[in-house]
């Protein structure tokens, strides 16, 4: 048996379109600058309440009281809490807790290394979409 491959016009058209699309996609992936995608996620009682840009210096004040997101008020807080972002790092500047573990932790600039304010039910963590996620940092 002798088969001869015969391409119809539509086949050529589809192949051309796919080739052009692949090229465009390839060029896009190659040339578009990689976004480090870092943001600061603030979890309160296990729920992500805020996602702040790590690129922008800012502070966020949280208050104890009946839940009201518009006034940053949360019942789990033992007292006023201030979270500060500066120079691509984040820290819990002020909080009320017996041991002050999270404010003592100081500045963090590494993704996935949480600042944990356990008595306040608050976790502050830099989240990253970077391809490289470290298990551990020295």
């Amino acid at each position: 048996m002798n088969f001869k491959l015969k391409l119809a016009k539509i086949d050529i058209f589809i192949i051309s379109i796919l080739t052009v699309l692949s090229l465009v996609l390839g060029l896009f992936i190659y040339f578009v600058p990689k976004d480090s995608g870092k943001s600061v996620a603030i979890y309160i009682e296990g729920k992500m309440e805020y996602s702040l840009s790590l690129e922008e210096d800012q502070t966020l004040a949280l208050h104890p009281g009946e839940y009201n997101k518009s006034t940053n008020t949360y019942p789990s807080l033992l007292g006023e809490m201030v979270i500060e972002i500066k120079d691509k790092s984040v820290r819990v500047e002020k909080e009320d807790s017996p041991l002050h573990v999270c404010s003592k932790q100081g500045w963090v600039s590494i993704p996935n290394f949480p600042v944990t304010c356990a008595p306040n039910y608050v976790v502050v963590v830099i989240e990253s979409t970077d391809a490289t996620n470290f298990d551990f940092v020295v």
């Binding site: 296990g46 120079d87 041991l99 039910y121 976790v123 298990d135 551990f136 940092v137 020295v138």
Partner: protein, 443 residues
């Protein structure tokens, strides 16, 4: 589960806080009730990692507590589902009790007591026996670690020496004092010329004379293997010589905790002692390799310049100048430069060295305590002597690889000097904000 976890933490914290203010002042035993649970949803939001922490403070006086080895001691494993709540408690109690006990034994500043009220024969007790010719019975761990330390001191040519207790205290005071000054004009340092600095210089010179070398220390400490006692003999006419396990104690404790957790089959995680002493206990449950970020040596930024990947068991030790340090401005030819005074001391010079900013060592054969001391030894080893040092260690202790970090004067380039064996597993992190450059040693 989240609520339960937090409640456990709160309840245990409250128990501790309320229990330490009254009654018998016995803080030596580690009880189940004091075990806290610091895992909870932290892990769930951080890529599914379990983090079991050691949050149990040790009471050192009526008003003060400290954390074992003044460090965050953590067991972490992936993925989250691999540990249930009883296992987490088990891990925390297992490693917590080891850290708690060994901190007390290796502490040279405070007294601690057994349940029956007798004093724990710790390093402080041994230091107090200096020159009295009294043989002191100590626990097996302290006994063994002191023997290992003395031997390492001799083998390292005095680059590591546990007899620097007084020297270490001198620099600790300067570091704390200078970090609390608003202006460099108020700094005290043997290299400065103000009145207090001149006194400090005099004191440093005296201390340099009073520290026995590692070779001399071998004769000062008399070990009796049968009775498990140590006699701390007088050194010349020096009034006070004190031992410190600051450069090896935490590594020993992390190693012991690693052994205990491996025996209980928790060997898919790692233990970290504030990142300076770490043991990856085995393969991760998802069989992905360990990826360890090596941070840039710059003070102002903590970005990752590179990372290392490997499989299975590994001991990892790091020493550097970024913690417990101060910058000392020095005028030279009309230009101000800064040297870093830090806590890793060279026993031979009495000062800290600035050959490298940070040293990170990896081994699958050398014990955690020896690796802890080796990172100090490497910080005190000139670059031209590194090859010989590596060759000696490989021959006598087992495989070892390392990353030595430096930077240019302007702090714009981070250099990663990597030993041969890490060539295929070290990668420069292209997303690093600083410019990082890798160079490979021939050994």
């Amino acid at each position: 589960m989240k609520k339960k976890a937090f409640l456990a933490l709160l309840v245990s914290g409250t128990f501790f806080l309320t229990s330490c203010g009254e009654g018998k002042k016995d803080f030596s035993s580690y009880s189940k009730e004091e075990v806290s649970y610091c895992n909870s949803f932290v892990s769930e939001v951080t890529s599914g990692w379990n983090r079991v922490c050691n949050l149990n403070p040790i009471r050192i006086s009526d008003h003060e507590t400290t954390y074992p080895f003044d460090s965050d001691l953590i067991y972490a494993s992936y993925p989250l589902q691999e540990l249930d709540v009883p296992s987490i408690y088990d891990i925390e109690e297992t490693m917590g009790s080891i850290f708690y006990r060994l901190h007390q034994e290796f502490d040279r500043h405070y007294d601690y007591f057994h349940d029956d009220g007798t004093k724990i024969q710790n390093l402080k007790v041994l230091n107090e026996s200096y020159g009295t010719e009294k043989a002191v019975f100590v626990d097996k761990d302290l006994y063994n670690l002191l023997k290992i330390s003395v031997e390492l001191g001799v083998k390292s040519d005095n680059r590591f020496n546990i007899a620097i207790g007084e020297l270490s205290a001198f620099w600790d005071d300067l570091i704390s004092y200078n970090n609390n000054q608003m202006s460099y004009d108020d700094y005290i340092d043997p290299l400065l010329t103000n009145e207090k600095s001149k006194e400090a210089e005099k004191k440093l010179k005296k201390l340099q004379q009073e520290i026995p070398t590692a070779e001399e220390l071998k004769d000062l400490l008399e070990f009796d293997d049968t009775l498990q006692t140590i006699t701390f003999h007088q050194y010349k006419n020096v009034e006070k010589v004190s031992l410190t396990l600051g450069g090896i104690g935490k590594g020993y404790a992390v190693g012991k905790a690693a052994e205990a957790l491996s025996a209980k089959k928790y060997d898919f995680g790692y233990i970290s002692g504030a990142s300076s002493s770490n043991v990856m206990l085995g393969k991760k449950k998802d069989h992905s390799p360990w990826t360890v970020g090596i941070s840039s040596p710059f003070q102002a930024d903590f970005d990752m310049g590179g990372y290392v990947t490997f499989d299975g068991y590994r001991v990892l030790s790091t020493s550097g100048d970024s913690a417990h340090m101060y910058f000392l401005p020095i005028e030279k030819n009309g230009k101000t430069t800064y040297i870093i005074r830090h806590h890793i001391l060279n026993p031979s010079t009495g000062e800290s060295e600035n050959e490298y900013r940070k040293v990170t060592l990896f081994s699958s054969a050398i014990s955690s305590e020896i690796m802890d001391a080796l990172s100090t030894i490497m910080m005190n080893t000139k670059e031209e002597d590194l090859e010989e040092m590596f060759s000696y260690i490989r021959e006598n202790y087992g495989d070892i690889e390392g990353i030595f970090q430096k930077n240019n004067e302007e702090e714009t380039i981070a250099y990663y000097f990597v030993t041969k064996g890490l060539k295929d597993s070290f990668t420069i992190n292209e997303q690093n904000t600083h410019f990082a450059e890798v160079k490979y040693y021939e050994f």
